[in-house]
């Protein structure tokens, strides 16, 4: 009668290792990476990166119920951001210097900005900035 072979020690140790490995299965990262990429695409598409600032706008003129305020200073804006005050044609920097030469009483008057035909929004904003830097408190746009 053939003797029954003893159980292999190697086989027993492998069985122990196998049960150990089964208890610590590696975690699948696919689902996590999917969610991260979806969030990444959402923020890439939904975000705006412009640093917005705000400036107050007033409107003066016939549509606002008056033909211009009493004692107001009329500033016409030409293309290129030139400001025409009375007979003076000034650049934005020149407007700041010119305002500094006028009295505080002059700067306290309401200023009405009127864009001429070819002036664009940037030109008007440049002049309004110059008026604000020059110390003018009340600036409004003239409506035709």
């Amino acid at each position: 009668m053939a003797r029954k072979a003893p159980p292999s020690r190697h086989l027993t140790s492998v069985m122990h290792i196998r049960s150990f490995v089964r208890a610590t299965r590696p975690v699948a990262l696919t689902a996590l990476v999917d969610v991260v990429f979806i969030l990444l695409f959402f923020f890439m598409l939904a975000s705006s990166y412009l640093d917005w600032r705000s400036m107050r706008l007033g409107v003066s003129g016939a549509a606002a119920g008056g033909a211009g305020e009493v004692g107001s200073v009329h500033v016409r804006v030409g293309p290129g951001g030139d400001a025409i005050v009375g007979s003076h044609r000034l650049s934005a920097a020149g407007l700041v210097s010119w305002l500094a030469e006028q009295g505080e009483g002059y700067r306290a008057r309401p200023f009405i900005v009127e864009p001429v035909a070819a002036a664009n929004v940037q030109d008007v904003v440049d002049v309004m900035d110059a008026l604000a830097v020059g110390g003018v408190a009340t600036v409004s746009l003239l409506s035709q």
């Binding site: 991260v36 939904a46 975000s47 600032r53 705000s54 940037q122 309004m128």
Partner: protein
């Protein structure tokens, strides 16, 4: 006879660096931007040294280079703009985002419509000089 099992010789590709970069990009986009709804119009805003903070609850009126108008990201006509603004209660603050190269007379025309809707608090949104 036992056939020895051949072990795979292909090395597994680690995805951890890719996940690291994806997380870094996600954190960057979360912190660097502000969530805004998409707008129907493409607007290149004017540059200004004004430093007022934009009112987050303001109604956004956009005007693009062609003079088309949008209200909160939706393209509308001037009449519809005036009617919609007039119907809102309480009277909202309006923030105008106009293209820098738009003819200024068009901007003034839209401002008049906004004023006729009873809105008194109107702001122009700009960006700092580049």
């Amino acid at each position: 006879m036992r056939i020895p099992r051949q072990e795979s010789k292909v090395a597994s590709l680690s995805t951890l660096p890719m996940v690291n970069i994806a997380f870094l990009l996600l954190i960057f986009f979360m912190l660097a931007g502000t969530i805004e709804p998409p707008s129907a119009l493409t607007i290149d805003p004017p540059e200004s040294v004004a430093d007022g903070d934009p009112d987050e609850g303001a109604v956004i009126v956009g005007i693009n280079l062609d003079g088309k108008v949008s209200l909160d990201g939706i393209a509308v006509s001037l009449t519809k703009l005036r009617e919609t603004l007039a119907a809102r209660t309480p009277t909202p603050t309006v923030a105008v985002r106009a293209d820098a190269t738009l003819n200024a007379s068009r901007l003034v025309h839209v401002l008049v419509q906004i004023r006729e809707a009873g809105i008194r608090d109107v702001h122009l949104h700009t960006i700092p000089p580049r």
